[in-house]
């Protein structure tokens, strides 16, 4: 099973969900499949789940999808009990577990040595956590999560193959502004107010 094939299924049901993706190729693959300003690329390894939690709490009426990886989640395992505690009903946490630090030279992660991320999520208090065993199983799990009203955690074991995609076209600051403007427009809220004083004070 390859991540790119799973992402194709996700793209069919993601709609206007906000998507936060972990450092690494998953961001490029997702951006190729669902280009747009509702995608936010994370640069700090591990922080994907926490940034997605903050978005989900801040905008509870909107689905937020976290595209996490095993190396990333292993670095921020403590986000799992925090997510369980906050119960963001609009958060869909997907972990593509390829058992290596793919963006960092493909050294084996602890999941390759037996750590079970779905087991860890359940033990942290996320009841709605399961492995998807096939691309179709993943598609069904994602579909269910998108219409569900509880936080869901979907783990999927994938190979290390990368999708045929281009580099990410924008830098971090442009990603921030585009994402905020997209949220403003699509949620009809004002986030970036003018900070210019009427006259210099």
């Amino acid at each position: 099973m390859q991540r790119f094939d799973c992402l194709k299924k996700l793209a069919q049901v993601a709609g206007d969900s906000l998507v936060v993706s972990s450092a690494g190729a998953v961001t490029l693959e997702w951006n190729a499949l669902r280009p747009g300003d509702g995608n936010f690329r994370v640069r700090t390894l591990g922080l994907c789940s926490s940034i997605a939690l903050g978005m989900a709490l801040g905008l509870p009426e909107r689905k937020v999808i976290a595209l996490d990886g095993d190396g990333s989640l292993l670095m921020n395992l403590s986000s799992l009990p925090t997510i369980a505690r906050m119960k963001p009903m609009n958060l869909v946490h997907i972990v593509f577990d390829n058992e290596v630090y793919e963006a960092s030279g493909s050294k084996k992660t602890a999941t390759g040595a037996g750590a079970d991320l779905v087991g860890l999520a359940r033990a942290a208090g996320i009841d709605n956590a399961r492995w998807a065993e096939s691309v179709d199983g993943f598609a069904q799990a994602v579909e269910k999560a998108m219409i569900g009203d509880a936080v869901s955690f979907i783990g999927v074991k994938v190979g290390t193959e990368r999708g045929p995609v281009s580099p990410y076209p924008i830098d971090e600051v442009e990603n921030k502004y585009r994402f905020i403007r997209y949220v403003e427009k699509s949620a009809n809220i004002e986030i970036l107010k003018s900070n210019l004083p009427a006259s210099y004070d």
């Binding site: 906000l18 936060v20 936010f40 994370v42 640069r43 700090t44 591990g46 922080l47 994907c48 789940s49 926490s50 940034i51 997605a52 939690l53 903050g54 978005m55 989900a56 709490l57 801040g58 905008l59 909107r62 921020n76 403590s78 986000s79 009990p81 925090t82 505690r85 906050m86 971090e172 600051v173 990603n175 921030k176 994402f179 905020i180 949220v183 403003e184 949620a187 809220i189 004002e190 986030i191 900070n195």
Partner: protein
């Protein structure tokens, strides 16, 4: 001002500055402030397990329109540094950091943490202010929020024991 009154004054100032989401991790000296945050119905309170998570939570919430603060001890500030650098600073995301100043002058614990807190803030280019007078808290919090929004960088307020009502104010001695 005792610690309960100090906590209420700080909470009121945070609300006055427009803060509506707060990520926290306890220190004994922050206990009254965190109790006030927890009891506030106007704030989304996110108790994190590690301070770096809180930086991510606040960054995510900012991107969808929340005004956030992270409350932690200075050891937690050190724990947060990678996220502060590669998320807040890299993406130019504002955040009010309320950092309890363990190892402050006169403390008998955490002197190493205390002595490195301001140098690390300086190295990161994070503007900060050491708060000692509780009466000043509302105005300083208001100003710090303006600075973080305007500069699009985190701004730190160092909360001392006297600010938190945990030892007498210097001028009262």
């Amino acid at each position: 001002m005792n610690s309960t009154e100090a906590a209420q004054a700080i909470l009121k100032a945070l609300r006055g500055a427009g803060i509506n989401l707060v990520a926290t991790l306890p220190d004994i000296n922050l206990s009254e402030l965190l109790r006030a945050v927890e009891e506030s119905r106007e704030l989304i309170h996110v108790p994190v397990c590690r301070e770096e998570e809180g930086i991510g939570v606040c960054a995510g919430a900012y991107l969808v329109g929340k005004k956030c603060a992270a409350i932690m001890q200075n050891g937690g500030f050190f724990n947060s540094n990678n996220a502060i650098v590669s998320t807040l600073l890299q993406y130019q995301i504002p955040l009010l950091l309320l950092i309890y100043y363990a190892g402050d002058i006169g403390d008998r614990t955490f002197s190493t943490t205390g002595s490195l807190t301001e140098p690390v803030l300086q190295a990161l280019g994070i503007r900060y202010y050491v708060m000692r007078e509780t009466e000043d808290a509302p105005e300083l919090i208001r100003r710090a929020q303006i600075l973080t929004e305007d500069s699009k960088r985190p701004v730190a307020l160092l909360l001392t024991k006297e600010l938190l009502g945990r030892r007498p104010a210097l001028k009262a001695l």
